[in-house]
Assembly symmetry: C2
Homo-oligomer: 335 residues x 2
Amino acid sequence: MEDRIQLGHGSGGIMTKELLDELIFEAFSNPYLDKKHDGSVVKLNGKMAISTDSFVVSPIFFKGGNIGDLAINGTVNDVAMCGAIPKFLTLSFIIEEGLLMEDFKRIIQSIKQAAALCKVEIITGDTKVVERGKGDKIFINTTGFGPMHSKADISIDRIKEGDKIIINGNIAQHGIAIMSQREGLTFESEIESDTTHLHELVEDLLDAFGEKIKLFRDPTRGGVASVLSEISGETSLGITLKENKLPIDKQVKAVCELLGLDPLYVANEGLFLAIVDPEIESAVLTLLRSKSKGKNSQTIGEFTKDHPHKVVMNSVIGGKRIVTPLLGEQLPRIC
Amino acid sequence: MEDRIQLGHGSGGIMTKELLDELIFEAFSNPYLDKKHDGSVVKLNGKMAISTDSFVVSPIFFKGGNIGDLAINGTVNDVAMCGAIPKFLTLSFIIEEGLLMEDFKRIIQSIKQAAALCKVEIITGDTKVVERGKGDKIFINTTGFGPMHSKADISIDRIKEGDKIIINGNIAQHGIAIMSQREGLTFESEIESDTTHLHELVEDLLDAFGEKIKLFRDPTRGGVASVLSEISGETSLGITLKENKLPIDKQVKAVCELLGLDPLYVANEGLFLAIVDPEIESAVLTLLRSKSKGKNSQTIGEFTKDHPHKVVMNSVIGGKRIVTPLLGEQLPRIC
């Protein structure tokens, strides 16, 4: 096979067929994909959650992951945030002419591994190639779907005063990993992206607590601040955050200070916020802390009638600060 | 609103929210999308067809359409080719910084109109922005799904010797429209892309003929030649094509000759091939020819045991020619 992706690999002719046969169908073989039709037929029953995301992260390889596993985990997590169990994914590539075949193969392998870990099947896909200088190595779209958890009753309308906001781990890891790599920063211990799948944790929570969980959201682009501002804007309530409860790695915090970044706005890929009834708060924390992906869980705030539509943070030094949503761009192409 | 798309529009912050609220949610408002969650929940029952495509066509505006309606029609047709009725679409943009807001608005409007004509709803989406020079104006991914037609039994394994290959209209329109525009060619009457949705025609055929229809395929990238080569390669049969039956517009044919392009390899966006039991051939043609999108329908060939895995064309001048699949790239970024 060629050393680099060529325009012909996107032609729909023999070169496309060879690329698909040797790399894609080989890696992801399953009864759906093996039909090699332009689409796939699956049996579905009941309420299904569906989510789509295009991934344009730069660089495509970074500490802790690459655009391939990110594209799987990211969409799997978006489906999970609806209260569903991801089952199937579609996979679509836009590749820049000249991408090293070696890099493409590495990405395919990461996708394969991530999909296996997530227990999702890739059932159909698409491959396009654009001329050199008209893309940036590779962009990946994944669309995921799966059945709603039978006990899920996820809706922003169900949030009430006093509901608690729980986060499952340390903030700002993904954004700082990408940023460090872009800026060529090196540290004693390398900071890794937190990209991972979260649907098993979500399933555990729904199994145990059902409708006592009001909402899940993953604080990716725009970070915790933007997601909470958005939620608060769509309810009639405000949010009170406790700065001293925000879990953050010391080194990540130091890098944020060095770069002048507020960690509250930095993207995460392995985190979710669960908005829960206060009566299950401590049981949720106990469950989460018993799992490796939840060991740093914290209640970081709660909903209040005091300041509708506003997120107010009680700072470590005793003051109060209004947390506004991100305006423009902090870190372009973070996911 | 700004005159051009900026990186901040992909930030996940306020600029993203404004863009979505003012353009996307406004245009596509429906109960699914209005929830503004990262995903959407729909009720589905039974066998569903699913297809995904990323559209990278250049130029983004062309005679007869633009990347917006192409992205809707293309995926709707891929779902229909499975024997299904498209119902829902996801919509994901990768926009290059600097895209004129005016152009983005035009594209959104085309998407809206095409989706309305197709009777599909856009239920969730994503918007990313990449830096100037790292993309090419706009790429669009759509993933579509819908329930299988109750009478459909679409499978390549069901094709038998003697089955007829019927096409619903003139070949090579889309590719030549794009190519003419790129090359700055002008003709007496402009050649338009044939981009359109085909699922209503597919539904009519399945209503009338059910399992007598063995396969649908749309000859997009790589044209009729590549699709037929692919099908023939996956069966134990060969295909005999009749050149004098291939419907083609005179002017399109002249341009193909001028540019040295074989119309059999040129992309189409408003065509499908139906492989049907010979006993329904004339009834299928009668039905198709009664519809505007099928008025130029023709039987262009049939399956044979004579030359397994080969497509052989009986030419107008009496000779025979083996039709090989497209090797590399004829027209990059045709869809």
